[in-house]
């Protein structure tokens, strides 16, 4: 009897130890890779997919510890990545082309916003409905790509910048509402809604409708990282894409998660932003993150055309499909 009891106890101890050991996540294998991502703007639903990947453990499953750093004017994402202070960043497609033209070795690994939400917006009562109406008006420009794209658009349309009064504005919509500007640049998923929330009707003019349909939010990293740590890049991209898919399929939940990151916003605004973003992220015709060479080429053409860049760059250095192909192996064969 004693022998039987001691056997049972021994087995029980082994089982319990095994269960406890099994419950502990596989961190014991290797420490996770620490990664920082420079966001394209302040924390908002625009980056819902990354919040999803963080909170739902997708980054963790790829053995990554990801820190999301919001945008500041002083620390532009491309600069941070080049200086090695961040591994990844999000920037507009044309900025990446431009960076390459300037000799900075950054490469796009996937696109979040396949459709460009850059826009100009005006109060409805102003009657300004198309760029041609900008003549003689005050245009509020956000620094960075908004400004560049705006210039490109005017060039495309053959409008003279000197006929407009350009001023620099801050992060919000105050200038338009306050009457300081007649038209401001922004993102169709963001600023126009804030104007509506403030109680005004708004006109939205998409840059994409007027010839500046380049990739917007693009995930990029440095050439060095691609060469030295390709599977790190692949893991990060895979988890991020999973995050976006989850966010699209579970809007309500993701809005809740986003609100934990956001400062100074309302639930309805983030809901609106996410809702509006979804069709930009995937239009239904290609998988999340997909990139087309033609579009990159077109983007470069526009920049050349408008003099934003002086010489052509090798478009194959601007972006790489290697990681998307691995992640979607076989999916796009149809």
């Amino acid at each position: 009897m004693k022998k039987a009891i001691s056997i049972v106890v021994a087995v029980a101890i082994i089982l319990v130890t095994g269960m406890v050991a099994g419950c502990v996540p596989q961190e014991g294998k290797e420490p996770p890779d620490q990664v920082t991502v420079r966001l394209k703007w302040l924390h908002q639903a625009q980056f819902a997919g990354m919040y999803a990947a963080s909170e739902k453990g997708f980054y963790e499953q790829e053995n990554l510890e990801v820190t999301l750093v919001p945008y500041t004017y002083e620390e532009q994402p491309i600069d941070m990545v080049i200086e090695g202070k961040s591994e990844f960043g999000i920037a507009g497609g044309n900025l990446i082309i431009q960076a390459r033209a300037d000799g900075l070795p950054v490469t796009a690994i996937g696109v979040i916003y396949q459709k460009n939400p850059l826009c100009c917006y005006s109060l409805k009562e102003s009657g300004i409905t198309k760029p041609q109406d900008f003549v003689g008006k005050t245009i509020g420009l956000k620094p960075g790509e908004n400004t560049q794209s705006y210039h490109v658009m005017l060039e495309e349309l053959g409008l003279d910048r000197n006929q407009m009064n350009e001023v620099q504005i801050g992060y919000g919509v105050d200038e338009l509402i306050g009457g300081i500007t007649d038209v401001s640049t922004g993102f169709s998923v963001n600023e126009p809604h804030r104007v509506i929330e403030a109680g005004h009707d708004v006109n939205v003019m998409l840059f994409a409708d007027y010839g500046v349909d380049v990739y917007a939010d693009t995930l990029f990293t440095s050439e060095e990282i691609i060469n030295s740590a390709p599977e790190l890049v692949e893991r990060f991209l895979r988890a991020t894409i999973r995050g976006w898919q989850y966010a699209i399929e579970n809007e309500e939940e993701i809005v809740d998660i986003t609100l934990e990151y956001v400062t100074d916003s309302t639930r309805s605004h983030e809901e609106y932003m996410l809702e509006q973003s979804i069709p930009l992220i995937h239009t239904g015709t290609s998988p999340i993150g997909w990139m087309e060479k033609e579009k990159w080429q077109y983007g470069q053409d526009i920049l050349l055309q408008t003099g934003s860049i002086e010489k052509e760059v090798d478009i194959d250095e601007v972006f790489t499909m290697q990681f998307l192909n691995k992640i979607y192996a076989g999916a796009e064969q149809r």
């Binding site: 459709k115 198309k130 998409l206 010839g211 699209i248 930009l280 239904g284 015709t285």
Partner: protein, 602 residues
């Protein structure tokens, strides 16, 4: 298997259970399978029809819009108006008039065909130069496939989410050419997808879990479904049916859907639209009726099995319990315990076996006794045979020595002569005893002849040395009492009885010998003496060899009698009143001549 061999109950139960389970199982299996098969075929047929129907409806909807658009594009009015726009500039009145005309026509078409907006694209720049919705004019569509492809021929785009419209749409475009075939512009219209959604949402009347949906090449759900009312463009479907359809196949089958549930589904690849159409229903719902049947059968089977098992147990108990008792009884008897008892109620086969066994046991015990007796006898026989022979020699020597002494020693006195005579008499007694011993062992099969019992009896009486002090009374019938017997043996037997009777009377008394016939065709002969009698307990034992209550003499006599009489097919028994005397009664079958009647006396 050992259990089945050892236990009747196990066999019976197994048999009964098999009898219940096997047919039920077979029937149930067949019923279930055929039911399931027929449901499957029906549902498959239905789903496939639904899928084909919807495919056709989708195609005809698209074709309709294509035709309307193409009709408009090729109309001379539109051709002329477009030519105007390309010739004049925006400030010219001709331009404005043409523009207004186009807008009017576009608006009409948009309203009619639910295509909104309808617009004209400049063939070179790709700008929208006229539109049913003014806000669209001036917008840039150079990169769009519907522009680049629409320049060459009628083009239908994939379903995609339009940023400008703010919802999913499909664009149909077609070239506008002049009479010479020169491209003037591209006419395009955004199709309203409401009809498509309604089409897909239409329930096919199959059940709660049945619905149809469209999926594109990225596994993205294109139309809302009943279960995902806002799922369009927000949900990815990775079920097997979708996969097969996306590989270009069309068919019906059983597969796992995107939820991991088993379903019956029809899947079709819409080549023109590059979409997969799936119509499916959960197997659990479709097969519910036959699954219910299966559950019912199982339940019934369970009940029947329980009942059968219970009855089997009850029935076997009726058989097994008495059998067990019987086994125990036989075992005890087998060990030699003839006192074992058994009681089995009822009149069935088992009770009959039991009572027959009891009879058999009775016979066994009798045979056992007889065996013991004859064993004893046999041993005795062997023993006595050899002893007798051995004894004869010394006795013979003594006898002849006595004779010699008597003859040689003439001058002996009286006392010495008396002693010599005693010796001689002792020798002859011993010799007599030896003789009777040998007779016992030498008893042969009786030589049966037809005899008169009376004559034999008289013979025996005469041959026995009955002292004068014993009075002999004979009571014989007038006629013969004929038996089939061995003369010598009978004489010997009667001799023994008479000698016994004389000894019992101590040489004084009356010996009554009676012969008569009995009603049941037997001859009865009795020897009654007036001796000391036999105790009740010993009435049977007197016929046992070596039994004797007398001090002298060995009790062989009556056992020889019994042997002889029984060999003749008769019986012998003793009656007695202790103190008054004993009566030995012999019964023998009468001589039965097949041709004659029996002679029965009295």
């Amino acid at each position: 298997m050992g259990l089945l061999q050892r236990s009747l109950r196990a066999r019976a139960l197994t048999f009964v259970l098999l009898l219940v389970i096997v047919p039920l199982g077979v029937i149930g299996y067949i019923a279930y399978n055929s039911g399931r098969q027929s449901i499957e075929n029906e549902v498959k047929g239905h789903l496939e029809s639904v899928a084909i129907l919807k495919e056709q409806e989708i195609e005809s909807w698209v074709e309709h819009m294509e035709h309307s658009l193409t009709w408009l594009a090729t109309s001379s009015q539109v051709g002329n108006d477009t030519a105007m726009l390309t010739t004049y500039t925006t400030s010219d009145p001709e331009y404005l008039a043409a523009h207004e005309s186009l807008v009017a026509q576009f608006t009409k078409l948009a309203a009619l065909e639910h295509m909104s907006p309808v617009f004209l694209l400049d063939s070179t720049s790709g700008h929208i130069i006229a539109s049913s919705d003014v806000a669209w004019e001036g917008k840039f569509r150079k990169l769009k496939l519907y522009f680049t492809q629409g320049k060459n021929g009628t083009y239908v785009s994939d379903i995609f989410h339009s940023l400008t419209l703010g919802k999913p749409t499909m664009v149909i475009s077609t070239p506008v050419k002049d009479s010479g075939g020169q491209l003037l512009g591209v006419l395009a219209g955004h199709a309203n997808l409401e009809p498509l959604s309604e089409l897909m949402l239409e329930r096919s009347g199959l059940g709660e879990t049945a619905y149809t949906f469209l999926v594109n090449r990225s596994n993205l759900l294109i139309t809302n479904t009943v279960f995902a009312p806002t799922g369009a463009f927000k949900k990815w479907m990775f079920g097997e049916g979708a996969e097969w359809a996306l590989e270009g196949k069309s068919g019906v089958g059983l597969f796992t859907d995107y939820r991991g549930e088993p379903v019956i589904g029809a899947y079709r690849w819409l080549e023109e639209r590059k979409l997969a159409l799936i119509a499916k229903q959960d197997q659990s719902e479709a097969f519910a009726p036959v699954n219910r049947l299966r559950s019912t059968i199982f339940m019934m089977a369970g009940i029947l099995v329980a009942i059968a098992a219970a009855s089997g147990v009850l029935l076997t108990r009726q058989i097994i319990s008495p059998l067990t008792k019987l086994t125990e009884y036989v075992r005890r008897v087998g060990k030699g315990d003839y006192t074992a008892e058994i009681e089995i109620k009822g009149k069935d086969e088992i009770a009959s076996v039991a009572s027959n066994v009891k009879i058999m046991v009775g016979q066994l015990s009798q045979m056992q006794e007889r065996l013991l007796a004859s064993e004893r006898l046999a041993t005795l026989g062997q023993l006595s045979g050899s002893i007798s022979h051995e004894l004869r020699n010394p006795l013979g020597v003594i006898d002849s020595s006595v004779y010699y002494l008597k003859s040689k020693l003439k001058g002996l006195d009286e006392k010495a002569l008396v002693h010599l005579d005693r010796i001689k008499s002792g020798v002859s007694s011993s010799t007599a005893i030896i003789e009777s011993l040998l007779n016992l062992t030498r008893l042969k099969e009786p030589q049966l002849t037809r005899l008169d019992l009376i004559a034999v009896t008289s013979d025996a009486i005469g041959a026995s040395k009955i002292p004068a002090s014993v009075r002999v009374v004979k009571s014989f019938p007038e006629q013969e009492v004929t038996v089939n017997a061995d003369h010598e043996q009978l004489r010997m037997a009667f001799n023994n009885i008479i000698r016994n009777a004389v000894q019992a009377m101590d040489g004084e008394g009356t010996l009554t010998v009676t012969v008569r016939g009995t009603p049941d065709k037997q001859a009865e002969l009795s020897f009654a003496d007036t001796g000391s009698g036999i105790a009740v307990d010993n009435l049977e034992n007197v016929f046992q060899p070596l039994f004797s209550t007398r001090a002298k003499g060995i009790g062989f006599g009556l056992s020889i009698v019994k042997m002889i009489i029984e060999k003749h097919g008769g019986s012998v028994e003793a009656e007695s009143e202790p103190g008054k005397g004993a009566n030995i009664i012999i019964r023998l079958p009468l001589y039965a001549d097949k041709d004659k009647e029996d002679i029965s006396n009295e």
